[in-house]
Amino acid sequence: MEKIKVLVVDDEKTFLETIVERLESRGFDVQGVASGKDCLDLMSMESFAVVVLDLKMATLSGLEVLKEIKKKWPTTQVVMLTGHASAETGIEGLSLGAFDYLIKPAQMEDLVRKIFQAAESRTALLQKRENLVNQ
């Protein structure tokens, strides 16, 4: 089975490195970027199945990146990570088309499960689109 391509976006370098390593060890094809701009740049060159996106970042906020992603690559699924315990930002993200959200610090098992679910939903989405095209 092909590895799921995951992009992690977080401006906290240490967190980024660690989570990339841990996701890689769980069999994902992972890349990490430290800013929203880098994320969008990289995505214009490569396509990713799932983006794990920190909502609170210094330069470009997570929600803006999310909007951009959904505009350009609607099939790419986004799992949000947030430091806010409030559901509000999460719900706002969901309304903008994010797949789901997790509150930091999240359990690795939860994150992995969410990534799998996101990837599955993307596959289903692509399948549907293919069928439409074939017809």
């Binding site: 967190f15 430091g83 409030s86 930091k104």
Partner: protein
């Protein structure tokens, strides 16, 4: 006790309001009220009193003058009448002596004819007599046999010799019947003289006085200068008795006067002149009377009228009653209006102040909560980031142990990693709860399970409870204690109350929380066995700025809590017994009930 109850019932709310010296906005309402009542009453009632007093005096004077006027008139008229009567008799005698010479007068039979002539045309003469200069009655006609009687030793004889004319007082004399005498001295040619003496029936006087037609209660009579009645009086004694009048001024009764003092009788009464005078006297029956009197010209007689004041002053008394009654009613109604208006206005000020204070508290509270919310959100986010890193690093460590042959079996290393991850979880739970408490400023109506809220709060205080070895019991009575309310604010309410309970109990104390579910409402009872609250503090416990903790307390905790419970449409009550503990009861409606009041009877 009954009066106290009534006073308590009508006492306005602000009366027992504590004076907050540190709160310039809160006044001393009692002082304002007193000042208002005093000033307004003074300004309103003083002119009324002054005017009433002036009117009273003026009316009294006028009416008294009006009352005394008829008496004066009666006195002067009667005095004139009686005077005229006496003058007429005197003139008649003078006419007789001037038109009959001495020898005719002493001629037997002549006097009889004169007497019958006089009586047929004038009437009133009882007898006539001629007395010579030795005092011997040499000629007499009348019902008695007084011919030859010697009067020279009698007082009146000397007087008539001196003054030529003499009108006697009424006396009984030889005939033992009240009468008086008019005597007239006439000179004969040469040095000799004789006296014509006529006795006049007092009946004439009586008739004269009766003809005045006075009211039955009014007494008119004549007295002499010694206070001896000359005509019968209706109420003050009989003829020739001493008149029974209580003289004004010093407590002297006319009947107590010694004959020597009685010379002053007319002076005492002020009837010394022919001018009529009037004065007030006390009757034997303790009712005041007016006495009018005047001296009758050329006679020893004083005319007196005694009239009961009641008749004359009836109008005045009626008017006085009206005046006093009107004033009393006015003063009472003015006072009532002032009292109720002052009470109403000060109550309004008081209520407005209370409202303003509570609005200020609410704003303060809202601001406080908002800043705490921002702070907590910031803290939570800032802490969550490093926590996330620790979490990931520890997770990576554990992953690495898992892949390595060498470490995967090392229980100790694995358990260290696990405990790090577990601690991070706990930390994140704390930050999450911190946010949960701080965030809700506006009410968010949602379905809330009250038992979860209470459990959360108890969980928050768990460490302290363990540390102080407190016994905390949670009892849930009834199924599914669910209601529509705001979780965050409920958490704050219970945190506050349970925190207070923690503060009230000693170490190893006991706190019982009981949740009872009813169809309409949920009741949460938080009982502790702590120090309790003194009764005088109990009624002020929900007042803002009331604290027993001195510098350490803000006095806002329970007032905010109370405000929150009310905002959530609930009710908060407290019972306490000093030394035994306190019970706080929170009642919450289960239905959506914004700002409503709990009509439920939940304190059973």
């Amino acid at each position: 006790m009954k009066i106290r109850n009534i006073i308590n019932k009508i006492k306005p709310r602000f009366w027992d309001e504590a004076i907050h010296q540190d709160q310039p906005g809160l006044f001393n309402y009692r002082r304002i009220w007193k000042l208002t009542v005093f000033c307004v009453s003074f300004v309103a009632i003083t002119p009324l009193m002054v005017l009433s007093f002036m009117d009273y005096n003026l009316s009294r004077k006028t009416l008294q003058a009006e009352a005394s006027f008829p008496i004066m008139r009666l006195v002067s008229n009667t005095t004139l009448n009686v005077g005229t009567f006496l003058e007429e008799k005197t003139a008649l005698l003078r006419f007789i002596v001037q038109n009959n010479n001495y020898h005719d007068l002493i001629r037997p039979g002549h006097l009889e004819k004169l007497l019958s002539d006089i009586n047929s045309s004038f009437g009133g003469f009882a007898d006539l007599g001629v007395i010579d200069s030795r005092g011997i009655q040499i000629s007499y006609t009348g019902p008695f046999d007084f011919q030859g009687k010697d009067y020279s030793m009698q007082e009146w004889f000397n007087e008539v010799v001196e003054k030529n004319l003499y009108v006697s007082e009424v006396f009984r004399g030889y005939r033992d019947e009240p009468h008086f005498v008019i005597a007239f001295k006439e000179y004969l040619p040469g040095e000799n003289w004789f006296i014509l003496r006529a006795t006049i029936d007092t009946e004439e006087f009586n008739r004269l006085l009766q003809s005045l037609n006075v009211r039955p209660s009014t007494d008119v009579f004549l007295v002499n200068k010694n206070g001896i009645l000359q005509t019968p009086s209706a109420f003050h004694g009989d003829v020739l008795e001493r008149v029974k009048i209580d003289l004004p001024g010093p407590d002297v009764k006319s009947s107590d006067l010694e004959p020597a003092d009685s010379n002053n009788f007319k002076n005492l009464l002020g009837c010394v002149s022919r001018e009529s005078s009037i004065l007030e006297i006390n009757d034997s029956k303790d009712s005041k009377k007016f006495l009018g009197c005047a001296l009758i010209n050329n006679s020893p007689f004083i005319f007196m009228v005694i009239k009961s004041q009641r008749e004359l002053m009836e109008n005045w008394w009626k008017m006085r009653m009206e005046l006093i009654g009107f004033m009393l009613i006015s003063v009472t109604s003015i006072l009532l209006v002032i009292l109720s208006a002052a009470t109403y206005l000060v109550s309004r000020i008081h209520d407005a102040d209370i409202k303003r204070a509570s609005a200020l508290h609410k704003i303060e509270h809202t601001n406080k909560m908002a800043s705490i919310g921002r702070l907590a959100a910031g803290v939570a986010h800032e802490i969550n980031n490093p926590l996330a890193i620790i979490n990931e690093k520890a997770g990576l460590l554990k992953d690495l142990f898992g892949y390595s042959e060498k470490y995967s079996k090392d229980e100790k290393l694995n358990s260290i990693a696990d405990s790090i991850i577990h601690s991070v979880e706990r930390c994140s739970a704390i930050t999450r709860r911190l946010l949960g408490f701080a965030k809700h400023v506006d009410v968010e109506w949602k379905k809330v399970r009250i038992d979860n809220v209470v459990r959360d709060v108890l969980g928050f205080l768990d460490k302290e409870a363990q540390y102080r070895e407190l016994e905390v019991n949670l009892e849930i009575d009834g199924e599914n204690p669910e209601l529509i309310s705001d979780q965050g604010q409920l958490e704050q309410v219970f945190l506050n109350i349970i925190n207070n309970a923690f503060a009230a109990v000693d170490d190893k104390g006991r706190i019982d929380v009981k949740i009872s579910t009813y169809p309409e409402h949920v009741q949460v009872r938080i009982a502790d066995n702590g120090c309790g609250i003194a009764p005088e503090n109990l009624k002020k416990i929900f007042e803002p700025f009331f604290t027993t903790k001195g510098e350490q307390g803000t006095g806002l905790g329970l007032s905010i809590t109370y405000g929150l419970v009310k905002k959530l449409g609930g009710d908060l009550s407290v019972e306490s017994e000093p030394g035994k503990g306190s019970v706080f009861t929170v009642c919450l409606s289960r239905k959506f009930n914004p700002k409503g009041t709990v009509s439920l009877d939940c304190h059973k």
